[in-house]
């Protein structure tokens, strides 16, 4: 079987289609996939790169649902069903690690009984382990644990998942436009008829018409809603996570108690992440929110209770995302939020036809959200096509890694293993049969020249930061130290940026990385930071003047109470 090449980013503009999807997160990409597989013409507009909102800024946890079993059985059921679907359709994005819910001496062991019962009621296989067995299974877990329950948690790579969905959508006729920001919702009377978008790369605006416009922009949904003149009440809260330099734990470690701050440690690819916090922020801070020094300290202190090694392990990055928490419309006080997926038919809700909002939910329920929204779109377009996204496997997940390995033959076995782990059965598309193509650009994450060329040519990469999301370049302990310099050269050679813009590209990447590093200014991290500063500012001579979008002047962010726009 030969693998058919796909090009993710659309090259030509579309002016008319059936459905416009706003937002390139997992939900948007899932929607594009579902619509296109049901034969509906659709285009997706994303103001930045794919998976830049909450999709790419969470734990990457393939929830078993256990976390919600006690408090919210419906959510728990949704999670476990989607969990098993994703294991089948997205296996190259999933790491089937299993998870532990541990009880510490200061926790109530009674909670564990309720927890196991609640899991069983929701259909989640939960197995109580003796402390000794739990420690053997996960040696990094806090050795003072007094109880543990094993559940089918796992890990999912949100970037890989979003790209795989989008690739499938493109394969079935959808069009994907990144760096396209919706500036206006076009209306004719009480009907939405399309959008005006700004192509941020060419700086041109144009209109695109469609029968249905879907707002799938997560927490930004409120802002898109206001463009259409509808009020969607959401509560942006910042959730902060901290990444360690290597994979300390092999199983997800949760705390067996009521969900709280910093109580999940997830092994993700070569690293592990502890999170999260929950801090209400203003809408005006959505794009500028910063991790606070106190949050970092809290994550370490609380995280060390799950896994004591966190205290000494190298911290490489912190980042924050905003959960798309939607007001519970049944609640009259306006303060309650829903953890469920929320599908709004604005025709019924606000008397505005041709406009749908899909929001709320979680990464793991993205497919279900897309299915529900596409069902509604079908209803509006008077189509009767069943959804097949729960059974059709995603591009990359078709074959087992063993089989794929035999089709890829780079010179070094480790480079080959890395390509297969990231691209699944699309790995043969990555050039790897010459020493030059197998040459490593990012040594931490084993990213080769061939893989970078593949991403640049086929995976809608416009800059170094996009490249990071596609192939993990710069995601290792050094956070893009020498590899970015090399990748800048390759991007220039591939004409993705002109040579005179190359220093600016590099400067932007370094600024972006630094946002997640500057609060971690001690230990090994400050050593690494000093090295990067010497390398790029002193030896290479990059300055603020090279940056196309230099950082705003220093300001202290006020921690505001929840505020609706």
């Amino acid at each position: 079987m030969t693998v058919e090449p796909l090009v993710l980013g659309a090259l030509e503009r579309t002016t008319e289609t059936d459905v416009i999807i706003i937002g390139g997160g997992a939900t948007g990409a899932g929607l594009a996939r579902d619509c296109s597989r049901r034969g509906i013409k659709c285009v997706l507009f994303e103001r930045g790169d794919l998976a830049t909102g909450a999709t790419g800024r969470n734990h990457g946890l393939l929830h078993s649902g256990a976390r919600y079993a006690v408090t919210d059985r419906d959510s728990a059921k949704e999670c476990i069903e989607e969990n098993y679907i994703l294991r089948k359709i997205a296996r190259h994005c999933v790491d089937e690690t299993d998870g532990l819910f541990i009880t510490l001496p200061e926790d109530d062991l009674e909670y564990q009984k309720n927890f196991i019962k609640a899991c069983q009621d929701a259909g989640i296989a939960a197995e109580a382990l003796e402390p000794k067995d739990a420690k053997e299974l996960e040696p990094s877990a806090n050795p003072s644990l007094i109880g543990a329950v094993k559940v089918p948690d796992g890990v999912i790579d949100p970037f890989r998942l979003t790209v795989a969905n989008m690739l499938d959508a493109v394969k079935h006729g959808a069009k994907c436009y990144t760096y396209h920001e919706v500036m206006a919702i076009l209306k004719e009377g009480a009907r939405v008829v399309g959008v005006r978008v700004l192509d941020k790369l060419s700086k041109e605006e144009y209109e695109v018409r469609a029968q249905v416009v879907v707002n799938a922009s997560g927490i930004w949904g409120t802002l898109i809603g206001s463009l259409a003149g509808v009020d969607i009440k959401m509560f942006p809260t910042r959730g902060t996570l901290l990444i360690m330099g290597h994979r300390i734990n092999q199983l997800v470690i949760n705390r067996c108690r009521k969900p709280a701050d910093a109580d999940i440690l997830v092994p993700g690819d070569t690293v592990c992440l502890i999170g999260t916090t929950s801090i209400p922020i203003k809408f005006s801070q959505l794009d500028t929110t910063r991790v606070s020094y106190q949050e970092v300290e809290l994550l370490i202190t609380e995280g060390a209770k799950l896994c004591p090694k966190l205290t000494t392990a190298r911290k490489i990055r912190c980042y924050a995302g905003s959960r798309p928490l939607v007001a519970d419309e049944a609640d009259t006080t306006g303060r309650k939020t829903s953890r469920h997926l929320v599908l709004m038919d604005h025709e019924k809700r606000d008397g505005l036809s041709g406009f749908i909002t899909i929001t709320g939910g979680k990464l793991i329920t993205y497919r279900l959200m897309a299915e529900k929204a596409t069902d509604l779109i079908c209803e509006k377009l008077k189509l009767k096509v069943p959804c097949d996204t729960a059974t059709a496997v995603l591009p990359g997940s078709g074959e087992s890694p063993d089989k794929i390995l035999r089709k890829v033959a780079p010179l070094a076995p480790t480079v080959r293993a890395a390509i297969v782990s990231r691209h699944g059965d699309l790995a043969p598309l990555v050039e790897s049969d010459t020493p030059s193509a197998s040459s490593l650009v990012c040594e931490c994450e084993l990213v080769s020249v061939g893989e970078i060329k593949h991403a640049i040519e086929s995976l809608a990469v416009h800059n170094l930061v996009d490249l990071r999301r596609r192939v993990r370049i710069g995601m290792g302990p050094c956070q893009g130290e020498l590899c970015v310099g090399r990748a800048t050269g390759l991007m220039t050679a591939a004409k993705l940026c002109t040579p005179d813009k190359a220093p600016g590209e590099l400067a932007s990447f370094l600024e972006e990385r630094w946002k997640g590093i500057y609060p971690l200014n001690w230990g090994e991290t400050i050593r690494e930071s000093e090295f990067v500063m010497w390398l790029y500012q002193s030896i290479c001579g990059l300055t603020r003047a090279d940056s196309p979008n230099p950082a705003p002047p220093e300001h202290l962010e006020d921690e505001a109470p929840t505020e609706s726009p």
Partner: protein, 398 residues
């Protein structure tokens, strides 16, 4: 806690300095280099064992990467530990012969004249080359007619006359191939007023076994040695060793690679020159006759790791008339048994070339090194004699 023993691969800043100091990756493309094989590889292997690369076996365990690393990453240890964890069991008869020095040594010394004669005959060399993968052009160390231990028990002067005693860990090379080095050690120690005991039940330190992937055998040897050492230390203050590699192994490889706890006696293991230094500091004396020679000091890889060159240099400078040249520290390529394996041999020779050029250009008539395999390699490749500082000091003793 020793701060140099207190960190791990997590501290790697990806600065690439180690890659400049790896003697192997420069000449052998299949070896991905210390950074990739060590800290970078470890992160991948923690994710999935599929990221273990067989090419890790090309590492010579020279530890130069560790010495160079500004972040204290135990790169060489990481590589050895990964091999221990993931490498398939080594079944090669050649590797078994080369690494089981005790077994081979005791067999060979029983019939040393025949073995030495045979080992250098063309048909033997042909056999070694073709069937065992030991290159025919390589000269083999000669086996002694009588082991050092046998000589010690039969012929050594009475050691009970000395008030102070020390335990000598002679090592395989002294025992089977070069007993005269052991005799030199004895001569110097006695001159300093110290009597010598041997370690009851000494086994090979295990370094060739680790290098060839016989981790269980290495562990067995280490366990036996640990027991013997702990017993010996009940009666003597210190264990002294002529070889830098045995010393490094007992001090650092035991805890780091074999997970043998040596914390109670690690600091009581001395390389001989370091022990001599202690005795001289106490006020004891050694008198040397002049030696009008240009002598080049070569820092063996494991000497570099121990960081103890200062003692040898200090002692050699006590010999009147000696002109000591300090060579920049470079690997000779032999790396114990590594260079004896046919597949490694060209690599070993290429690694050593810059060092051989320096030695030949230095104008020296004698090279000095604490390492026995450096001695073999340097003598074969430069034609100059290479001796342990203990031998040179003993020769100069009045």
């Amino acid at each position: 806690m020793n701060p140099l023993l207190s960190t791990n691969f997590d501290a790697c800043t990806k600065c690439t300095i180690c890659t400049e100091y790896c003697p192997v990756s420069q000449v052998r493309p299949a070896f991905a280099g210390p950074k990739q094989s060590g800290p970078d590889g470890e992160r991948q292997r923690l994710k999935d064992a599929a990221f273990y690369s067989e090419a890790l076996k090309y590492c010579t365990n020279c530890k130069r990467c560790e010495v160079a690393c500004p972040s204290n990453v135990h790169i060489g240890d990481e590589i050895a530990l990964a091999r221990k964890k993931f490498a398939p069991y080594n079944l090669s008869p050649r590797d078994a012969i080369l690494s089981h020095t005790d077994f081979m040594g005791s067999m060979a010394t029983m019939a040393a004249p025949i073995v030495n004669f045979m080992a250098n005959l063309a048909p033997t060399k042909f056999f070694l080359d073709k069937f065992l993968g030991i290159p025919s052009w390589r000269s083999f160390p000669r086996y002694a007619n009588k082991t050092f231990r046998a000589w010690f028990s039969d012929n050594a002067p009475d050691q009970s006359v000395y008030k102070d005693t020390v335990t000598l860990f002679h090592g395989c090379f002294v025992n089977y191939n070069n007993p005269s080095l052991g005799k030199d050690a004895l001569k110097l120690l006695n001159a300093l007023g110290v009597g010598v005991r041997l370690l009851a039940g000494e086994r090979c330190c295990g370094v060739p076994l680790i290098a060839s992937g016989f981790f269980q055998d290495a562990l067995d040897n280490a366990t036996t040695n640990k027991a013997s050492i702990e017993k010996a230390l009940e009666n003597t203050e210190r264990i002294v060793i002529p070889s830098s590699t045995c010393t490094m192994t007992l001090r650092d490889e035991y805890p780091e690679v074999l997970q043998i706890d040596n914390s109670s006696w690690r600091d009581r293991i001395d390389l001989l020159p370091r022990y001599f230094y202690r005795l001289l500091e106490e006020g004891r004396e050694l008198k040397f006759k002049p030696m009008e020679k240009v002598v080049a000091y070569h820092t063996a890889c494991h000497m570099e790791k121990l960081g103890w060159t200062a003692y040898s240099i200090d002692l050699l400078r006590l010999i009147p008339g000696i002109k000591l040249i300090l060579l920049p520290s470079l690997c000779c390529g032999i790396a114990g048994t590594y260079g004896f394996k046919k597949e490694n041999s060209p690599t070993a020779q290429k690694i050593g070339e810059p060092l051989f050029d320096l030695i030949k250009g230095s104008g020296c008539s004698l090279v000095v090194s604490e390492c026995e395999t450096c001695k073999m390699q340097i003598e074969m490749c430069t034609g100059l004699p290479c001796e342990n500082p203990v031998t040179i000091l003993a020769d100069a003793l009045i």
